[in-house]
């Protein structure tokens, strides 16, 4: 790979790495506005849960993909681990789903640590390719190891204990849990925006060799970012499993799902606080609109949208809004 010199065109460099102390305030404002969604759109909770949940997972993806600049196309592994660990513990051991979700986080962190330690010596597209291979192998193994996962027939969750008296299958409850998750992910991102660790990651993203020269340990920092990203994605996966109520390895570990998370972040803007949220809203909400008005054409428009974003808004649509506001 040719080494790209510190690129002055990179969004983070262009707008200044520190977006200002008010960013946390914005996080709270946006979350507070979103909290009214179930009240306003009480008939469209399923869509709301999907948008917020995917926004949360895309933001988690962005911790590695955007802030650290390591393009992963295998994050479905953590969605799958989160969902399966939770479900299998519920079904086989009667463990409550929230503890199951924690166990999923543990499992995801272990997997991410091994995965990162082995493949982080690869850079750029090589890391992305390796991530596809890891995810595809995981999918095939999950599909075939029936005694562990239930195999291709999938698992279903007929009933769950109540969480603090709340019905976990209620879309309203799921929405607020997803919102909390999104909040966690965005707060993590906003911390990356300002903390020393965040600067390290951004330095690695811009030029790994230069970062090493100033005393940053890229492999360690990349692995740490990967762990955080995996843990948050895994929580999202557990909730996604509950939301679906039934799932199979081919859906939970699919390359499509991995690519979708990355696309949401890119379309909204990587390495920004709200980019993944904007991307998730556009892609999930948009495909629902397209499904109704352009039946069968939604993927086509999806593809077109991606091309247009790359050509005309390479930093993501979220940053277009920002630029317009600054003018």
């Amino acid at each position: 790979m040719p080494q790209t010199p510190l690129s002055v065109s990179h969004p983070a460099v262009r707008r200044g790495v520190n977006a200002g102390p008010w960013s946390l305030g914005w996080v709270l404002v946006v979350l507070a506005v979103l909290a009214f969604y179930p009240v306003v759109f009480r008939n469209f909770l399923t869509l709301g849960v999907t948008i917020v949940l995917f926004a949360g997972m895309a933001t988690a993806w962005d911790v590695l993909g955007g802030w650290t600049g390591q393009l992963s196309l295998g994050h479905a592994v953590f969605v799958g681990i989160g969902a399966y660990t939770m479900a299998l513990l519920v079904l086989r051991a009667g463990v409550a789903p929230w503890w199951g979700a924690m166990a999923g986080v543990g499992a995801s962190v272990v997997v991410a640590a091994m995965w990162g330690a082995v493949t982080f010596r690869l850079r750029g597209p090589y890391f992305a390719l390796a991530s596809i291979a890891v995810a595809e192998m995981t999918r095939i193994v999950a599909n075939n190891w029936a005694s562990l996962t239930g195999g291709a027939e999938g698992v279903s969750l007929p009933s769950l204990p109540r969480f603090l008296g709340l019905d976990l299958f209620s879309r309203r409850v799921e929405f607020y849990i997803a919102l909390v998750l999104l909040g966690l992910a965005v707060v993590a991102a906003s911390w990356l925006q300002r903390s020393r660790f965040g600067y390290h990651l951004q330095a690695i993203r811009e030029d790994e060799d230069a970062a090493m020269a100033v005393g940053i340990n890229p492999t360690r920092d990349k692995v740490l970012a990967f762990l955080a990203s995996a843990a948050l994605t895994s929580l999202g996966g557990s909730l996604y499993g509950i939301f679906l109520g039934f799932f199979e390895p081919r859906g939970m570990f699919s390359l499509d799902l991995s690519v979708q998370l990355a696309l949401m972040a890119y379309i909204g803007g990587v390495g920004t606080l709200f980019g993944p949220l904007v991307g998730a809203g556009l892609l999930v909400g948009g495909s629902e609109v397209l499904r109704i008005y352009f039946p069968g054409k939604s993927l086509f428009v999806y593809g077109l949208l991606i091309i247009l974003v790359v050509l005309f808004a390479p930093d993501g649509l979220g940053t277009v809004v920002r630029r317009v506001r600054r003018v």
Partner: protein, 402 residues
């Protein structure tokens, strides 16, 4: 973001009216609307278009015959884009708009999460075409299935084997998905019960397509029967390569229907699919009233394309729904559920009753039939009372064919 929400809100306002299928009808009065979810786009769209035809004709017939006690039936058919997530979104919108009954979906992988959701919402789901056993086993009080499950697909094969007498061993090759494994389990159980050793049992990963290495292994086992389950493209590829590696079995069985029992199998497979025996849910040869007539009308509706049994089962599903709506004490989900449970109806597809048996719940116990490809056409060969042709057995070896 705000604008997007506004745009979405607008869309939702018109959502309830989009995509409806309604029939001009002598029935007057306020229409009764029920929901239907099918895969009109995406990987299962071939089957979704069959379901659409079945629903549309059923609505026409119901409404010209006086509707539901004088009120016309409207089936609001929505696309799930072959994705479970979309199906759940659509189902919620149906339920929130007061729909008391939903028909669907096509694929087992969409129907399973949908069934879990519907049971939780306590709104009945009437499924016509998903085959996976687990949808009604254990099932739930709110999930009803008109169509045959994989156990039923596999059963007539063993009846046939018993009658033929000279069959000893079975090899199994199924696609590595929910349907494939459901067929595999049914085959394993029934082979064990019938005392037929299974000498080979594998699932293949979908996607590609070089079956030669596996087929060579099966050839070595010398199994009498090769039982398979695949979607449409793989079914043809399998038969072609079976010929290529010169694998000879006494019976090539499409044990899960699906890819082996649709018109494109005949067209794509040419002479390699000759003599294949497949289970099927239905054929025009069955003795039910108006079966041949319905087949012709469906064909006309689909612009001359040959309908598969999926269209007829969707027709039957809509007919069963209308029957339950007529009999229901109240047009609430509970009222309709109670009415569905006492269904006893003869449709062009066959009799429909929802029974509990051997672990199944609210499952229509209709048997499957067997069809054999003879002279590039499906000929019903089993059970004997509806058969129009005799089974050609054993399958001629490849070298003996022209």
């Amino acid at each position: 973001m705000k604008q997007m929400i506004m745009a979405l809100a607008l869309v939702f306002l018109v959502l309830g009216t989009a995509g409806g299928t309604s029939g001009a009808a002598p029935a007057s009065g306020e229409p009764i609307r029920i929901g239907a979810i099918s895969s009109l786009t995406g990987s299962f769209a071939t089957f979704g278009s069959m379901e659409r035809a079945g629903y549309a004709l059923a609505v026409d017939d119901i409404n010209t015959a006086g509707g539901l006690n004088g009120r016309p039936l409207v089936i609001d058919l929505q696309d799930d884009t072959s994705s479970a997530n979309t199906a759940l979104t659509v189902a919620e919108q149906f339920i929130n708009s007061g729909v008391p009954l939903i028909l669907g979906a096509y694929s087992s992988s969409v129907t399973k999460p949908l069934a879990v959701y519907m049971a939780r919402q306590r709104v009945p789901l009437l499924n016509s075409n998903s085959a996976d056993d687990s949808i009604t086993k254990p099932g739930s009080d709110y999930v009803f299935r008109v169509g045959q499950n994989t156990d039923a697909y596999v059963k007539p094969f063993f009846a046939l084997f018993k009658q033929l007498g000279t069959i000893k061993t079975i090899a199994i090759l199924v696609s590595n998905n929910a349907l494939g494994h459901s067929v595999e389990n049914s085959l394993l159980t029934q082979a064990k019960d019938g005392g037929y050793p299974v000498v080979f049992d594998q699932a293949y990963d979908e996607g590609l397509t070089d079956f030669r290495p596996v087929l060579n292994r099966i050839k070595d086992t010398g199994a009498d029967v090769l039982a398979m389950s695949s979607y449409e493209a793989d079914a043809v590829a399998l038969m072609r390569q079976i010929k290529e590696v010169n694998l000879n079995a006494k019976i090539f069985a499409g044990a899960g229907a699906t890819g082996f029992a649709i018109p494109s199998f005949l067209k794509g497979g040419g002479d390699t699919v000759e003599y294949v025996i497949t289970s099927a849910a239905w054929s025009p040869d069955v003795h039910y009233p108006k079966a041949h007539e319905l087949f012709a009308r469906l064909k006309a509706f689909m612009g001359g394309a040959e309908p598969s049994y999926h269209a007829i089962r969707a027709y039957a599903g809509a007919t069963v729904a209308a029957d339950a709506l007529r009999r229901a004490a109240t047009l609430s989900p509970e009222g309709i559920r109670a009415a569905l449970q006492t269904t006893s109806l003869t449709t062009p597809f066959g009799t429909v009753e929802f029974k509990d048996f051997s672990g199944f719940h609210n499952q229509n116990p209709l048997p499957s039939i067997l069809m054999q490809v003879q002279h590039r056409a499906y000929v019903t060969v089993w059970p004997l009372d509806v058969a129009v042709g005799k089974v050609i057995y054993p399958t001629p070896v490849w070298t003996a064919r022209k």
